[in-house]
Symmetry: C2
Subunit: 490 residues, 2 copies
Amino acid sequence: MSVETERYIERNIPLYEFLDEATLEIIEYNAETVLEEIGVNFVDSPEALERWRSVGATIEGERVRIPRGLARELCKTAPSKFVQHARNPKRNVEIGGKTLVTAPVYGPPFVRDRDGGRRYATLADFQKFVKLGYMSKYLHHSGGTVCEPTDVPVNKRHLDMLLTHMVYSDKPFMGSVTEPSRAQDSVEMCEILFGKEFVQNNTVMTSLININSPLTFDSIMMGALEVFASNNQASIISPFIVGGAMAPVSVVGTLTQVLAEVLAGIAYSQIIKPGAPVIFGTFVTSIDMNSGAPTFGTPEASQILYGAGQLARRMNLPFRSGGGLCGSKLPDAQAAYETANTLNAALLGGVNFMLHSCGWLEGGLVASFEKFVMDADHLGTLQKMGLGVSADENGQAMDAIREVGPSGHYLGCDHTQKNFKSAFWRSNLFDYKPFETWYEEGARDTYSLAAERVASQLANYQKPPLDPEILAALEKYVADKKAAMPDAFV
Amino acid sequence: MSVETERYIERNIPLYEFLDEATLEIIEYNAETVLEEIGVNFVDSPEALERWRSVGATIEGERVRIPRGLARELCKTAPSKFVQHARNPKRNVEIGGKTLVTAPVYGPPFVRDRDGGRRYATLADFQKFVKLGYMSKYLHHSGGTVCEPTDVPVNKRHLDMLLTHMVYSDKPFMGSVTEPSRAQDSVEMCEILFGKEFVQNNTVMTSLININSPLTFDSIMMGALEVFASNNQASIISPFIVGGAMAPVSVVGTLTQVLAEVLAGIAYSQIIKPGAPVIFGTFVTSIDMNSGAPTFGTPEASQILYGAGQLARRMNLPFRSGGGLCGSKLPDAQAAYETANTLNAALLGGVNFMLHSCGWLEGGLVASFEKFVMDADHLGTLQKMGLGVSADENGQAMDAIREVGPSGHYLGCDHTQKNFKSAFWRSNLFDYKPFETWYEEGARDTYSLAAERVASQLANYQKPPLDPEILAALEKYVADKKAAMPDAFV
C-alpha cells in the first residue's frame, strides 16, 4: 500500500498580528537592555566565552554582556528560510516564510495506550511511533526523540533512534543533542544515508537546542549546536519556559526574556558559522499557581506564541512554537481543548516548525499512541485552513446560486458535483455516523476509535524501500559504535 | 452562596482579518446581484410583500427583487450596538463593537448525561440547565430554548421556558419565535417582569430569527420579527446553513448567499421599525459528503465565520456566530477539538453574540449536562485572552528579570508575589494534579470530572431573589394563558 503525505503547509492566509508596534518596540528595546546590563551565562565553556569576547562582548566569570545591537547584528547572517532534505526528495520540507512543517512529540520517558496504560517507553514503542508518523498524511517530519527508548543504554539510544528514523521512514528527522559526540554521530550517520558531500552542502537534520531559561546556555547543548552549525545542519534555538518559574508572570516580560535568549543563542550560532540555518524557538507554558503544575493551551501561552511569532518575523527568521500541547493524563476532552487551542494559535501565529504536533500527553511526560493518531488526523484542519479561499468564478459560485434559487437544494447542482470532493475537510477518525449506527456499533468515543486506528495503521505499515548497501553500512556503524562503548544508564 | 459572573468580554485585542479587500468587495457586489436578479421569497405574507413594494422592490408572486443598494441603505438605521437589560442590572450586556456575550445551546430535543444517557428533554431538564447557566462564571446570558421541554405541550412551552429564565436566573434571556403570538406573550411577560414602560424604552430580549436558506423568509419567523422589532426588542437575523445543502460548496459563494440573506432580513426589520436592534447572524456548518451529516469545527466553517464577521463590521452591525459546536455523540476528544476550533474563531473573528457557547452536542440534537459545564469553564480562556496584555512597567517586569538573573527562579520574586493571582488563567474543572494523586483518586477523565461538577453545582444552586408580587403575577399570567388554550403537541 502506498503512503500519502501532504506537502508541508504553505499559508495562503494572513497571520494574526496580536501585539501592536509600540509593544513590540518596548520588548525589543528591553531585550537589548537585558543582554547589555544583565547578560547571559555560558556555562563550562571557556571557548564559548572566548568567542563572545572576540566579537565585542564583555566577559565576567561565565557572564556574557552583549552591547546593545550586537546580537541582532550577528543574527543577520542567519537565513530566513532553508530546505531540510529527506531521503525521499518528495518529503523535503522548506522551513521559514509562509510554511508550516509538522513534527511529532519529542522527549517523553513514558508511553500510554488504552490497553497497556502508562509505562516506561522502549525502543519497540519508539519504532511504532515512527511507523505511525510515516503513515500520517498531515505529518511532514519524522521528528527526533518521539519517546525515550529507556531499555537502551543512555549513551547508545541516539544510534537506535536515528537508525529507526532512517530505516522505518523516509521523512526528514532530527539529530541527537544530548552530547556533542552524539551530534557528531548524527552527522556521520547522515553522511552514510545521504552521502558525505551532500550533507556538507545541504541541511538534512533540524535539531532541538534548548536554552536553560532564564538566560543560561550549557556546554552540552552549545556543544551540540557547534557540531550542527559547523556542519551546516539546522538548529532550533529554543527557550524552554514554564512561566512563573523560568520567566516573569507577565506576557511582555516573558517575551522580553525569550527574545534576549534567542538573540544570544542565534548570535552564537552565527559566530560559529555565519549562515548556519537556525530557527527562532519558543516553548512557553504557564504554571498553575495552586499545584505548581505546568498548564497548556492557556490564553497566556497563546498570547506569548503570537507575540514571539511577530518578534521572529521582525528578525526575518523561521519560527518554532506550538504543538498538540496539553496537561491531561488521558486523551480526553481536556487534552483536545488544550491541543486545539495551541494548534489554532500555531497556524495563525506564523509557526514554521511545529514540534509536538501529535502524540503529546500529560505535559510531555507521556507519548500517547491514541493521541498521536487523533492529533495527526486533526492537523488536516490546519492544512485545509492554510489553503485559504478562492474568489475566482468557480469560488464565487454565482451560477450555483442562480441555478438553485430560493428554497432549492444544492446537493444535486452542477457546482456541487464538480467541487464536492475537495470542498470540505473531513476527519478520517471522527465519528460522523447517524446516531443509530453509532449506537449499534458500540457507542465508541474518540479514544476507542483512535485505538482501533493505531492497530490498523500498524498492521498496514510497510517500510519504505532503502538501498541494502546503505542499510548495511548504517547497521554496521551502529554496531561498531555500540561495541566501542560500555553501557551507561545515567 | 453568591454567584459570580464576569462582565461580558470587551476585546482589548485585534481581530483576525481573514479575507482581503478585493474578495470582500466581490462578495458585496455579488450579494447585491443576488438580491436584484434572483431575489428572495417572503412566503405566506402579503403584508410583507406590500411592505417591500412600498420601499421600491419588485414583487412577482412571493419573490422580492431588491434594486442594488436598497437593502444596504435600509440597513443603515440599525444600531451598531445596543444594551440588553437583565433584571439584575449588573448582568446587563452590551452587544456590538468590541464585546462578546456568551449564551448557551439553543434548540436540542434531547438531553444526555453520563448516568442517564440520551433521552427526550423535559421541563425539569430545562430548569437544571438554566440553574447551571446562572452558576456559570463565564456565561453572560441565560439563552432561550436551552433544550426543548418535550413534556409540555408545544403551544405552552414558551410560557414555562420564559418563566424559568425569569425566575431561576437573573441573567438576560431570549424570547419565543415559534409563533408571532408567542413572541407577543414574551413581550407581555417582560412587561410584568421589567414594567411596561421600561420594556417600550429598552431592549430586554434578544431572539433568534432564522432564515430558511437559501433565500427564503417564512411568515412565522417574520411574524415574530415584526412583534419584536415593533416593540424595540432585538432579533438575530440568521441564515441557517448546512454548506453543500443550503448554500454552495465554496466559502465565497456561501458568504455571498449569507450576505444577501442578512441584507434582506435586516432591511425588512428596519422597514418594520427603523432603529430596531438587530444582529447580523451566521450559522454555517459544512457537510460530510460521505454520510451527509453536518460537520463542525471544520476549516471551512472557521473561514466562513471570519469572513462573515468582516462583512458585518463593514455594515457596522453586531455579529452573531460561533459557539461550542461539535458533531460528536459524546463529550469526548472529538467534541472538544471541534468546540475549541469554533470558540477560537469566534473570539478572533469578532463575534458579539455567541449562541451555543456551552452544552451543544451531536450537531445540536442533544444538550449535554457535562458538556455544558466543560464548555462554560473553557469560555474563561476567551475572557482572559480578550483582555490582551499590558506593556506598562509592571507588565514589562524588568525588575523581576534583574532580580532573578541567569539561572535563577521566579517563583519567589516580588513581581511574581504581586501578580500571580491574576497572571494565569486556570480551569476550575480540568485536572492539574500530580499523576500519583490523580491515579489514586480514580484516574478520572474530563467527562467524569464534569459529571461531578454538574452534581455539585446543582446541589449548591440558590434562586436569585425576585419580588414576590412580580413572581405571583408571572405565574398567574402563565396559568391564565395555559387555561385559555387546549394542549397541542405538534
